[in-house]
Symmetry: C2
């Protein structure tokens, strides 16, 4: 399946792919389009405050070797217009408007962290749109200890003036070990390889609305995990075993209550396991996406 | 690396591979030798009461397409001589004597259930012997709810006269769903494809000694999981999400405390996830074994 735009601005890498824009019935969304392939395109849904520039080229470029990969920027983030919704379902509505806008009828989703919650709601809201899902470093509705930036171990990093800029991401997304921190440094260096056409950084307004959405997502309403049992698509749940932002037990809950989910965890890794183990992740995720 | 015997009786399939015997300083062990390859041979360590005939040809034949696979029968099981040890470390000593006997200096281990416990002790006792481990449907020392055959949900199957022979294995190793049970029936049909040179079935003496070893393995002695932290080999932990014999939380413990372990779980599957998902298992396990 091809997105409407697929003949125009396809690039092989998130270092150079131009940011594109599409006006839809809701908002005008920024996105980037990588690679080509005959199967379902893989739509990438980003983490807390992340923009298109937070997609590791080592990860998404490798995924795009065998498939269309589309990086999507939700409303109010980067150069996408509108307000950041304060609910995950609000964000899912924007993602669906975007997919309708570019004319895609069936896609795979890579939902990372916040994006994984949005992915689950897209699958619930419009099941026919979703073929398979990669749910990375994320949690079910009614999950536990989701993105509590006020926790001492996270707040210490956020408020430490000696840790600046992307180094905060290294501390937050990677395990404390030397080996994981070194992989984190390599990750942020890769993010900076893109020199032009970058997105504006997210400010406190984006963060505030998304945190409000996290708090609502944590609440248990009705029978716990009942919604997970309605998601029948094949899912591949992935997490670092030492994720401090969304602990791995949330991934266990997903694997135990989604009817058709495999779970893969990585050692010596935190929230950013997909970037730390990008080569392994691409291989195992591709096996999953390409299986019958 | 080649086992001493590798030029003699290699076969492509556990349906036809002859049972071989090697006399060592401890006992004479029965084994089978499949496939060929330049890497470390994969030594398969069997489950509770299982013999060489319990290795699914769909699994081990596929693994043997790219590597040497050696199925090992521990002391007192099948046609291996000696008494079944009442401790996992006793079983590990036999496995080491076997590997020394056939002249292997470095191997990969596929330890399934009971065999996964033996594998952990081989890695602790003789670290240089073990390159990588696949630990399937198993538990760490100090794990929980390990092989309690007296539990109502297991005892009901064991004592039901209407469930005979290998059908008990279908009920015990597979999830209650129709889909999993159908995969279980296919599994036991594959086990019966081997018509000649079969091993004698295990009796109550084998079961009793192995259950004694399980009970000892469950005990927490000293700092819990301290031994896991000494196992530095890359490990790939696999389990069905609905394993009733050795619940999946034991696999979580392995992944959380082994320093270098990936975890993969399968949906709609019990203790026999590697047989139910043999194609997927072989692909993901091969990625792990073949990675740098």
């Amino acid at each position: 399946m091809k997105a409407k735009t697929s003949e125009t601005h396809i690039d092989a890498s998130n270092i150079t792919a131009p940011t594109q824009f599409i006006k839809t019935k809701l908002e005008t969304y920024a996105y980037r389009h990588l690679g080509a392939g005959d199967g379902a395109p893989l739509i990438c849904l980003q983490h807390f405050t992340g923009t298109l520039d937070n997609w590791d080229p080592a990860l998404v470029d490798a995924l795009a070797l065998e498939r269309e990969v589309i990086l999507f920027e939700n409303a109010g983030v980067g150069r996408s217009t509108g307000e950041v919704p304060e609910t995950m379902s609000g964000m899912a509505a924007h993602a669906i408007a975007f997919l309708d806008g570019i004319g895609l009828k069936e896609v795979d989703l890579l939902g990372y962290s916040l994006g994984g919650m949005v992915a689950q709601l897209i699958a619930l809201e419009r099941p026919s749109l979703v073929r398979k899902m990669l749910l990375v470093g994320t949690a079910p509705e009614g999950g536990e200890d989701i993105m509590h930036m006020e926790k001492p171990e996270l707040n210490r990093i956020l408020t430490d003036d000696k840790i600046q800029g992307l180094d905060k991401l290294v501390k937050l997304f990677f395990a404390p070990s030397q080996s994981s921190q070194a992989k984190g440094k390599a990750f942020t260096a890769r993010l900076m390889q893109r020199k032009e056409d970058r997105e504006p950084l997210s400010g406190p307004k984006v963060a505030g609305a998304q945190i409000t959405a996290f708090r609502a997502w944590e609440r248990i309403t009705g029978e716990r995990f009942a919604n997970l049992r309605k998601i029948t698509q094949p899912c591949f749940v992935v997490n670092g075993i030492f994720d401090n932002m969304i602990p791995v037990r949330n991934s266990y809950m997903l694997a135990e209550h989604l009817p058709n989910a495999m779970l893969l965890t990585y050692p010596d890794a935190g929230h950013g396991s997909l970037f730390q183990f990008h080569e392994s992740f691409v291989k195992h995720a591709s096996l999953f996406l390409d299986s019958e």
